[in-house]
Symmetry: C2
Subunit: 253 residues, 2 copies
Amino acid sequence: MMDRLRKHIPQIGRNRVPERPAPGEVACEDCGLDPMCSILDYADEQSNVPEGVLLRRRHVARGETIFLKDDPFRSVFAVKSGSFKTYIPKASGVDQVVGFHVIGELVGIEGLSGQRYPYTARALQDSSVCELRLESLSKSGREREELQQGIIKMLSAEVAFNHQLITALIHQSADQRLAGFLLSLTKRLHTRGMRQIEFQIGMSRSDIGSYLGLASETVSRVLTRFQKQGLIQLRHKRLQILDADGLSEVAEH
Amino acid sequence: MMDRLRKHIPQIGRNRVPERPAPGEVACEDCGLDPMCSILDYADEQSNVPEGVLLRRRHVARGETIFLKDDPFRSVFAVKSGSFKTYIPKASGVDQVVGFHVIGELVGIEGLSGQRYPYTARALQDSSVCELRLESLSKSGREREELQQGIIKMLSAEVAFNHQLITALIHQSADQRLAGFLLSLTKRLHTRGMRQIEFQIGMSRSDIGSYLGLASETVSRVLTRFQKQGLIQLRHKRLQILDADGLSEVAEH
DNA sequence: CGAGAGGTTGACCCGGATCAAAATCAGTGG
DNA sequence: CCACTGATTTTGATCCGGGTCAACCTCTCG
C-alpha cells in the first residue's frame, strides 16, 4: 500500500511513508481520512485539486493544541499517531471534555457548521496528524461532490455515535459507563488496525470523569475495582483488557 | 410569499398553500427544509429535478408513525404543523426518547449514514409533514451539490446541538435540565415563527423524563414546583412561560 | 359513565458527589 | 542519580439528589 497523501506534499518528500506504517501509526487505509484522500488522489491525476490541500504528518507534542475553541474553521485533522482530547474550556476551572480521538479518527469536523471550532483540541501524548484544508478546495466539480459525500458520511456517523453516547450517559451507572468506555476505546483502536492488547491511555482520571459525567474519585474507585475483579490490568497509564466478555457483561447489565 | 413546494406536486394542487400559512403551521421561509426547497425550486426552473421528489403536506394523525426504526432510509421529513417524538423502542418496556421535533424542524436525517432509520418517529398530536425523497434525486449536477451543502449544514448543526445536550445532561441537576428544556422548546418555536406565549406540549411526563434522563415523578415534581414559583403556567397539556428570565436563572445556576 | 392511562404526592433508600487526607507519580534542578 | 515539589491518584467518611415503590387522583376517550 502507498501513502495516498504523499504526492500532494512534495516539499516534505523526505518524510515519505514506508510501505508499512511506522509502529504505533495508523495505516492509511485504516485512517478515517482515507475516503477523502482517495478522492483527492484520483482528482490529482486529473490535475483539478491544488497542491497543499492535504498536509501530511505534522508532529504535535504532548500538551500542544492544534486549534482553540472559536478559532476560525480551516481544516479537519486525522490522528495519525497518538491521541487527542477535545474540550470546552470553562472559566469555572474544570474544563468539559467532549471527546477523545485516537489513531485514525478525525478531529474538528464539527467546525463545519459555524465558521468556528466549537472546542479546543489538545494532544494527550506526542502525536502526529494529517490535515485536510477544506477551505482551499476548489469550489465545484466532481471531486468536490464526492468529498461532500464523504463529509456527510462522517457527520452522520458522528450523530449516530452521539445518540448512543447520550442514551448511555442517561441511563447507565458508573460501572456501566466505564466498562462501555473501555470497550469502545479498544474497539475503535482495533478497527484502526491497532491489535496490541496493552495500550497507553493518555487521559487523566478527571478527563475521563468529565467526559463520562463522573467525579474523578469515582473513576478511580471503579477502575481499581475492575482490576480486583480481574477485568483489566492497570499500571500507571498502561491499560490492558483482561476479560472483554466480563466487561461487556458489566456494560450490558 | 409562495409555497416553494407547490409546483413540484401538481397532483395535489387543490391543496395549494395560501399567501399566509394556515394558523398553527410554519411558514415556508421559516421551515428547516426551506434551504433545500429553494434549491430544488431553482433547479426546477432548469427542468433538472424530477417531479415527485418533494411531497407536500401529508397529514399525520396523532399516534401515527412516519417511519419505524430500521426501516430503509428514503426521505427526510419537515414538520409543517404539530410535533413528533423520535425514540428507540426497547424490549424492556420503556422506550428511549432521543428527540422532540416541533414545527419547522427536520426528522430522519440521521438515516443518511446507514441505510436505515436509527429510530421510530411518532406524531405527538395531529400533524402534517413535507417529505423530501433523497433517494430519487438526480445523481449529479449543480443542484445536487447544493443539496449536499445543505445536508452538511443540517448535520453539523445536529452535532453541535447534541454536544450541548450531552454536557447539559452530564452536569446539570433535574431543575437545570427542565428549565433548559423548556427554554429550548420555546426558543425553537420562536425561531420558526410561532410567537404565541402559550402552546401545546404533546409529550407526556415520561417522554420528557426519558429524554432528559429523569424519572417521570421527578419531572412532575419539578414542574409543579416551577409553577408554584411563578415561572410557568401549566394546565393539562398547555404550557405557558411566565418568567423566562427566572427560568434562565435556574438553568444557568 | 366507566376503565385505563397518565399525573401527583409521599416515604424511603442508594449511588455517587463532595470533602478531606494520605500516597504515588512526573518533572526539575542540583 | 537523587532529592524536592506540585500534580495526580487513591482511599476513607459523610451527605444529598433523585430513583423507586406505593397509593391516590384526574383526565381522556370509547
